[in-house]
Each structure stands twice: as structure tokens, then as C-alpha cells.
């Protein structure tokens, strides 16, 4: 049970709080900008806030989707990093401990794979999702009417 917990902790995303904070901050900025626009258009502060929230749509749903996407990416990166390190260590161990030429080559190959895998993560525009086919979700592209308060602006 302890080993299972340790493994779970190893792969648990340590940045989730940070991700939630950043997503919240970004969405809040958007709502603030909308409020400001409506106030400039002549609405009262309360009406502007209501109109902004209406135009934004479900804040909770957007938050959840964004945090899930960010966490998924972050978690996968972590798993890949840890796997690369483990592979590298295994490779180095084999390299050091073996005197057999064939096993020696296996060590080299493992090290090469680990280094190549790690380098791949730094290639511009390449993210772990590139390797996943299941991330192509549908886009909630919804066309709605403008808020009533905004129409007279």
C-alpha cells in the first residue's frame, strides 16, 4: 500500500493549484474587461457585471475544461520526464555494471532513447499531446445572441 501511495505521489501533478490560479486569473481578466466595456457603454456596474457573466457563459464549465486540459498536459510531461530519467539511470547502470559487449550496447541504446525522448520535449511546438490521438475533442463553438443590455450600445 505504501509503495502504491509513493508511486501515486510520484505521478501526482504538483502544479494543480498553480494551474487553477492561473486559469482563474485569466478568465477573471476577461470578465473584468467585459464589465469595463459595458460600463463605458453606459451601463450601471451591476448591470455590466450581469451582462458580462451572461456573455461569458458558464464560468464553471470553462474553468473545469481549461484546468483539465492544462493538468493533462502537465501530468503527461511529468510522466515522460520521470520515464526518461528512469530509462537513463537503467542505461547508465547497465553500462557501468556490464562487461558483456551485447549488454553494453543495450545500455547505450537505453541512454540514447532517454536523451532523445527528453530532447523531443524541447522541440518547438511539440507537446506530449502530439503523440495522443484521443485529445481531439470537439470544440464547444456556440453562437449566441448578444446580451440584451449590449444591443443598444
Amino acid at each position: 500500500m505504501k509503495i502504491r501511495t509513493a508511486i501515486a505521489n510520484l505521478f501526482k501533478n504538483p502544479n494543480r493549484k498553480q494551474i487553477v490560479f492561473e486559469v482563474e486569473d485569466e478568465l477573471q481578466f476577461h470578465i473584468e474587461m467585459l464589465e469595463r466595456k459595458y460600463v463605458d457603454d453606459g451601463m450601471s456596474a451591476a448591470a455590466a457585471k450581469a451582462a458580462a457573466l451572461r456573455r461569458f457563459g458558464s464560468l464553471e464549465r470553462a474553468m473545469k475544461q481549461c484546468v483539465d486540459i492544462r493538468s493533462r498536459n502537465s501530468r503527461l510531461r511529468r510522466v515522460l520526464k520521470i520515464s526518461s530519467i528512469l530509462l537513463l539511470l537503467t542505461g547508465v547502470s547497465i553500462r557501468i555494471l556490464s562487461s558483456d559487449l551485447k549488454v553494453d550496447h543495450i545500455g547505450d541504446v537505453l541512454m540514447m532513447i532517454a536523451i532523445a525522448g527528453r530532447l523531443l520535449l524541447y522541440v518547438r511546438g511539440l507537446s506530449p499531446s502530439t503523440f495522443l490521438s484521443g485529445t481531439n475533442e470537439t470544440c464547444p463553438s456556440i453562437v449566441t445572441e448578444p446580451p440584451k443590455e449590449a444591443r443598444y450600445s
Partner: protein
């Protein structure tokens, strides 16, 4: 009034975002505003749907984001197109042109 609502075709929002970011880097609010202005209020994209789309696009490497300071001195995340995103934009544009041409032909034929 519900009949006035039209769903964008799947992937259309991504095309609009890519096209908007082709000119300059922008924050999410700026992207939506630009789309609204360009569409002259004929299309209304629900603002909240923009962000999951942006995050997915970043995950795919089409856009990159970084924190910056907005026009009102507030911390904001700015998005910009990557080289991969520019290629994607060209592909999406070509695809859109094909679809729209095909639909127009069908409508004219019937």
C-alpha cells in the same frame, strides 16, 4: 428566439482564432473582440468557449502563450501563432474554402 441561434461548424472557432492571431499576439478578450468586430455582430461566439479551444490549440502546438501586461496594466496571458499554427491556418483556410464552395454548388444546383 432560439431559432436565431446557429452552431458554428466544428473546428470553425479554431480557424477564426488562428486567423485572428496571424496578425499579432493577443489576449483572449482581444481575440473575441476582434472576431466580434470582424463579423459585425452577425456571429456571436460565447466568450467562455474560447478558452478551452485556446488551451487545446496550445496543447497541439499551434499557438504559444506567455504572461504579459495588458493595456490597462493588468496581468494577462497573451497568445501567439507558432510556425506549426501558421501551417495549420493555411490547411484550415483551404479546407474551409473547399467546404464553402461545395455547399454553394449544391445550393445552386437544387
Amino acid at each position: 428566439m432560439a431559432n436565431d441561434r446557429t452552431d458554428l461548424m466544428q473546428g470553425t472557432l479554431e480557424l477564426l482564432i488562428l486567423n485572428t492571431l496571424a496578425r499579432e499576439s493577443m489576449h483572449g478578450y482581444g481575440i473575441v473582440q476582434r472576431i466580434h468586430e470582424a463579423a459585425e455582430d452577425l456571429l456571436k461566439v460565447e466568450d467562455g468557449s474560447l478558452y478551452p479551444a485556446l488551451y487545446r490549440m496550445e496543447e497541439r502546438g499551434w499557438i504559444k502563450s506567455e504572461w504579459g501586461v495588458s493595456e490597462n496594466n493588468r496581468r494577462a496571458r497573451f497568445y501567439k501563432l507558432t510556425r506549426k499554427g501558421r501551417t495549420q491556418l493555411e490547411a484550415e483556410r483551404a479546407n474551409w474554402n473547399r467546404i464553402s464552395k461545395a455547399v454553394t454548388r449544391i445550393l445552386q444546383a437544387t
